[in-house]
Every structure is written in structure tokens, then in C-alpha cells.
């Protein structure tokens, strides 16, 4: 089969991707590039990865037919329950994979960036599990906004280092992590939390998250007698949960893919994170992709009520899916997302992460047919967002 939508041998999705990195990072990234596929193909790696996903993370995550939600929208909606994973989101699929990768490359020290703290917690968790040193970079502003996750990381033994440069949020935490890697080129592995960064990161993270759609295939087969749904829906910040949910359906164009971005207070309000609409081609964190920037090429600060979606770029896979029209991109405002989150809570007894609420909000915009099978990737649970929901709805 011709792979039109997956990565090519040079590390590009169409025109997007590559490794636009300073020479100081070249040996680190090159070591990873030369080894990651070999390591992942090794039976002992697969065995350990699968075992941990099963016994530690709690996989497979259920594919749940949401009856009341389906009735309301007069279509057949399944929820892929990544929220039930250990640590509460899909993020841990990737951190388990990468910590095993780091061990096999002989690394002793782990660094990571985090925005809302979900990836930081997932990284701190696997470092505790493996007894490895863990340093998490987090924007100073995010540290103040996400105190419970900072406390979690500390309790798990990680050192949380504030990023004090630039806008002091996720993109700056990523810059700091990259600088740390430049300063520690030999013993350190950088666990990037999304399908962003220089090649091979977008591909490696997508492969670790691909377990999500791999399970969807056999779970749907059991429930519906077919392995392919009509639609797969996932929210996109950097895009790791979407990459996982789309992965095994990328080349099957009978399956329609819907990527949901955060419109914040409105796409053109000046406070938005809808990269596909507002972004232009450029380079961020070592990858050629779509990103929000000034005419002069300075990277701008996005906004969303959801801390997991306010990244100024998207992974190169998603830039390619957008450009080719393989995926439909829909932007959802803060208000639409919050309403959808409350609705799912009341209809199905599931409080979703605000990131995930964006995916659920498209049900009000799309008219699915009664016999359509729609899978929504329920990427995370809402515990971390309770305060936001409380403040928003004055609960």
C-alpha cells in the first residue's frame, strides 16, 4: 500500500516535518533516529511495552457505546476511554514507550516539558516506576495555574523547573527542555509529550499512541462486526491523541477523520489556538509545520481555556492532514467546549478533560446520519479541570 498520509523515509509528512535543529542537538537526535525503529521492533521491547500497558496503565481502554449521547444526536457514538488510563489521559502511552526507549539507549536522566502538567505527571510517573532522575520544565505562569499537577510531580520525585523566558508557558518550557538537552548531550533523554519536535519524535510518539486505534479496530469488530467506523474524532493541540486515534485509519479514506482545535474566545478574537486557520507554514521546535506567528516570523502565544490545547503549532502529521484535506478541521470555542463537557457529565456520568470537551462539542455542528458509527477519542478525564468547570458554571 502506498503511504500517502504517514511519514516518509526522510522524516516528512508531505512537505512538513524534518529536523530543523542546531548542530548541538544533532548527535542526540541522530542517535534516536538511527535506533528508534530497531528498538521498537525488538520482541523484548514489544513484550515489555505491552505488559506495562496492560498491567500498569490498564489497557485496553474500553470502547464504550454512549447510548444516551447517541440518542440525543440520533447517531451511533462510541467513546474510546483513554480517560480511564493510569494518570488519567492518553499521555502515559507515550511516556511508557519513551522511558523504555531511553533505557535501551543507556540514558540515565530524563527531561520533559509540560503545559497543563498532564505530560509532566505521566513522565514523572514512569520515572518513578523505573527509578530514573526526572526534570520537568514548566512555564512559570503554568506552575501558578496548575498547582495540583505540580504537587503530583513533586510527590512522584520529579524536579519541576520553572521556565522564566519568553511568555513563560508551554512553548518556553519546550525551549528550556531543548536547552537542557543541548547542555547534557550524552546521558539524557528528552521525552517530548506530543507529535511535535524534530524527526523522529513526531513518528515515534505517533507509533506509541497508535495503540489507541489498534484497539479501536478489534473492539469495533467485536461490537459492530466491522473494524472501521465512519468517523474518528479527536482534539488537537500538538496532536498526540489525534495521531493515536487516526493512526491505523490514515490510509483508509472511507474513514473520515475530524481534528478539533481550540478556537478560544473565537477564531478571530485574538485569543485563539486554531492553528490550522490562523497558522502559516514555518518552523517551531525543530519541525516544519503550521504555526501561529507574526508576519515577521516571531512565534505568537495562543489562547484556550484548555491548557492542553494552547500550543502555537500542530504536529507535522496534522499539518499534512489539513493541507491534503484528509482530515476535516473544526474549531470549537471555550463556551462550546464547556457546554459539551457538562452535557457529557450529565448524560453519561463521565466528566471529560476540557481538551476532550472540544471534541464532544462538534456533535452540535455536524449532522451525522442515524446509521453512522462515530468514535470520539475521550483523551482525558476532567478531575484536573474541576476548578475551571466550577468557576465557569458557578457550581
Amino acid at each position: 500500500m502506498v503511504m500517502e498520509y504517514n511519514i516518509d523515509e526522510k522524516g516528512y509528512y508531505g512537505e512538513f516535518g524534518g529536523a530543523y535543529i542546531p548542530e548541538m542537538l544533532y548527535p542526540n537526535v541522530e542517535e534516536l533516529r538511527q535506533n528508534y525503529l530497531k528498538v521498537m521492533a525488538d520482541p523484548s521491547f514489544k513484550e515489555e511495552f505491552d505488559q506495562l500497558l496492560k498491567d500498569y496503565v490498564g489497557r485496553p481502554s474500553p470502547l464504550y457505546l454512549a447510548k444516551r449521547l447517541s440518542e440525543k444526536y440520533n447517531t451511533k457514538i462510541y467513546l474510546k476511554r483513554e480517560d480511564l488510563n493510569h494518570t488519567g489521559a492518553h499521555k502515559v502511552n507515550n511516556t511508557i514507550g519513551q522511558i523504555l526507549m531511553a533505557q535501551r539507549l543507556g540514558k540515565k536522566r530524563i527531561i520533559a516539558e509540560t503545559g497543563a502538567g498532564q505530560h509532566g505527571v505521566a513522565t514523572a510517573t514512569v520515572c518513578a516506576l523505573m527509578g530514573m532522575e526526572c526534570i520537568v520544565y514548566m512555564g512559570e505562569i503554568d506552575i501558578a495555574r496548575q498547582a495540583p499537577n505540580v504537587a503530583r510531580m513533586k510527590m512522584l520525585g520529579a524536579k519541576v523547573v520553572p521556565a522564566l523566558s519568553g511568555s513563560r508557558t508551554l512553548k518556553d518550557a519546550t525551549n528550556e527542555a531543548i536547552r537542557d538537552w543541548i547542555n547534557n548531550p550524552v546521558d539524557t533523554h528528552y521525552i517530548i509529550g506530543s507529535v511535535v519536535g524534530p524527526h523522529p519524535y513526531p513518528d515515534m510518539v505517533a507509533r506509541f499512541q497508535a495503540v489507541v486505534s489498534e484497539e479501536m479496530q478489534w473492539q469495533l469488530q467485536e461490537k459492530e462486526g466491522r473494524s472501521t467506523p465512519d468517523y474518528v474524532v479527536a482534539c488537537v493541540g500538538g496532536g498526540s491523541n489525534a495521531a493515536g486515534a487516526f493512526y491505523h485509519y490514515l490510509e483508509d479514506t472511507n474513514v473520515k477523520l475530524i481534528a478539533v482545535e481550540a478556537a478560544g474566545k473565537g477564531i478571530h478574537s485574538g485569543e485563539s489556538a486554531a492553528t490550522s486557520v490562523l497558522g502559516k507554514e514555518g518552523i517551531i521546535h525543530g519541525s516544519k509545520t503550521l504555526l501561529m506567528q507574526t508576519n515577521d516570523g516571531q512565534i505568537t502565544e495562543p489562547y484556550s481555556i484548555s491548557a492542553g490545547l494552547d500550543y502555537p503549532g500542530v504536529g507535522p502529521m496534522h499539518a499534512h492532514l489539513y493541507k491534503t484535506g484528509r482530515a476535516e478541521f473544526i474549531s470549537i470555542t471555550d463556551d462550546e467546549a464547556m457546554t459539551a463537557g457538562l452535557r457529557l457529565s450529565k448524560l453519561e456520568g463521565i466528566i471529560p478533560a476540557i481538551e476532550t470537551s472540544h471534541s464532544l462539542a462538534i456533535l452540535d455542528q455536524k449532522n451525522f446520519k442515524p446509521d453512522d458509527v462515530v468514535i470520539i477519542n475521550l483523551s482525558g478525564r476532567g478531575d484536573k479541570d474541576l476548578q475551571n468547570y466550577i468557576d465557569y458554571f458557578k457550581l
Binding site: P22, E23, K171, I182, N183, V186, I284, H285, D296, I299
Partner: protein, 259 residues
């Protein structure tokens, strides 16, 4: 290549002198300081200047250059404004001028338009840390050469011998030798490990001379570095000097280095 033979960088590299190159962020401390700083550096005996085009996300830089870059952007620096400021620079300045910046602002300006503008103004070369060697070689080399621009590549203590040879083969000015595994602005002096690395590279007898950067901050580190290389580049230490002493005291800074 014809254009490059006339290049000020290559001429400068031919002499016996050990070269002092200074980096600063354009538009810092004040938006209108760019030209004054360049003129003063030349007047005080600096051999080459790297004009930093500020970027919002300078991955390879430590806190000092990050802060000067952020401040320059706050001051209103843009690619167009920098080109405007430099419009008549060749009426007063003769030493080689290099623009150092990250790739995204150049990409947005248009790589060919950027190169053409550089040639019009009299810029001699570019240093773009996040433009990888292979991408340059495949996509941009012809354009850079068309406009007579020297592109300078970096090597580090971790760069393999094979890759150094490759970088040497496609370079046409000098090689920017990063002194240690670090971002800019660390200045703990050079230990045995670093001098061994300097010597190892010197012994490779590369076609292009090397200029050492990162961690050069005073006369001692400048002297150490130029024992093994053609020259040395100072960035963060100079910016700190601008921050604390202002633009009026450039002669003092340069004197302390060259002594």
C-alpha cells in the same frame, strides 16, 4: 563561487591576525543602537561582527541572549527595520558583517529575498543555527552563493569526524566551533577537555579556518581559544557589558579582551 572570492570574510581570514568577532542583538539596548554599536566596534579594532536578528524562541541561546533578543523585539525590531537601519552601513563600515538568526524569520521574509537584501546592503555571510546542513545543501546553497553569501556552520565536541569533514567540504568561509556542549553564555573558562578538543580539530587541518564561540568572555579565554583557532567570537559577555555599562563604553570592553 566568483562572488565569494571577493568576500570580505575570506579576505579577513587570509591575514595572520587572530580575529576578534563580536555578536550582539540588533535593536538592543535601544532600537536605534544597531548602527552605532557596529561603528564603535570597528573603530575599536574588532575584526568581524555578527548582527543578531532577534527571534522569539532562540533555542540555542542562554539567558543573556534570550533576554536581549526579547527586549529587542519589545523595542520593535523586525527584519525590515534591521535592513532599513543597515541600508547605508557600507558608507562607514569596512569589516565583515554577518547576520546571525534563526531560520523562521528568514523563511517568512522569503529566503531568496532575504539573501538579495543582504547582498544589496553588503552583508557578507549568515549564521543560521537551526538550518540543518543537509537542508541547506539540497535547497539553499545555490541561492546563498548567487548572492555572494558565506554560510557558516557549527561544529561541537560531539560532532563526528566524518560530519566535520562533510561540513568542511561544503563550507566556504570559516567553521564556527562551539567550545563545549552548552547553550551560549556559560563562562566557566576552558578546562583540559576543551583544549584537547580545540587541538584535535586544529590537527585535522581543515580547508576552512575555525573560529571558536560560546564561553569566550575575557582576555584569558580569548587567548586560550585563539591559540588553537583563527579567532574567537564573544556574544553574551558583550551583551552583559552593554546592559551594565551602556553603549558608551565599548572601547573599554574591546581593550580588555585584546589587551
Amino acid at each position: 563561487m566568483k562572488n565569494l572570492e571577493m568576500n570580505r570574510i575570506n579576505k579577513k581570514l587570509q591575514g595572520d591576525k587572530k580575529l576578534l568577532s563580536i555578536y550582539f542583538s540588533a535593536g538592543y539596548p535601544d532600537i536605534d543602537d544597531t548602527v552605532t554599536i557596529i561603528q564603535d566596534l570597528e573603530k575599536n579594532g574588532v575584526d568581524m561582527i555578527e548582527i543578531g536578528l532577534p527571534f522569539s524562541d532562540p533555542l540555542a541561546d542562554g539567558p543573556t541572549i534570550q533576554e536581549s533578543s526579547t527586549q529587542a523585539l519589545k523595542n520593535g525590531m523586525t527584519t525590515n527595520l534591521l535592513f532599513n537601519q543597515l541600508e547605508n552601513i557600507r558608507e562607514t563600515v569596512e569589516i565583515p558583517l554577518i547576520i546571525m538568526g534563526y531560520f523562521n524569520p528568514m523563511l517568512q521574509y522569503g529566503v531568496e529575498a532575504f539573501c538579495k537584501k543582504c547582498q544589496d546592503i553588503g552583508i557578507d555571510g549568515l549564521i543560521i543555527p537551526d538550518l540543518p546542513v543537509d537542508v541547506y545543501n539540497e535547497q539553499y546553497k545555490t541561492t546563498f552563493e548567487k548572492y555572494g553569501l558565506t554560510n557558516v556552520f557549527l561544529i561541537t565536541p560531539q560532532t563526528s569526524v566524518e560530519r566535520i569533514r562533510f561540513i568542511d567540504s561544503i563550507s566556504n568561509g570559516f567553521i564556527y566551533m562551539v567550545s563545549s556542549a552548552s547553550v551560549t553564555g556559560s563562562n566557566s573558562g576552558f578546562g583540559k577537555e576543551q583544549t584537547q578538543y580545540f587541538k584535535r580539530i586544529a590537527d585535522m587541518n581543515l580547508k576552512n579556518p575555525q573560529i571558536i564561540g560560546f564561553g569566550i568572555s575575557n582576555n584569558e579565554t580569548f587567548t586560550q581559544a585563539t591559540q588553537y583557532a583563527k579567532g574567537a567570537i564573544i556574544g553574551s559577555a558583550f551583551i552583559k557589558h552593554l546592559t551594565t555599562k551602556g553603549v558608551g563604553k565599548i572601547s573599554q570592553f574591546v581593550r580588555d579582551i585584546i589587551n
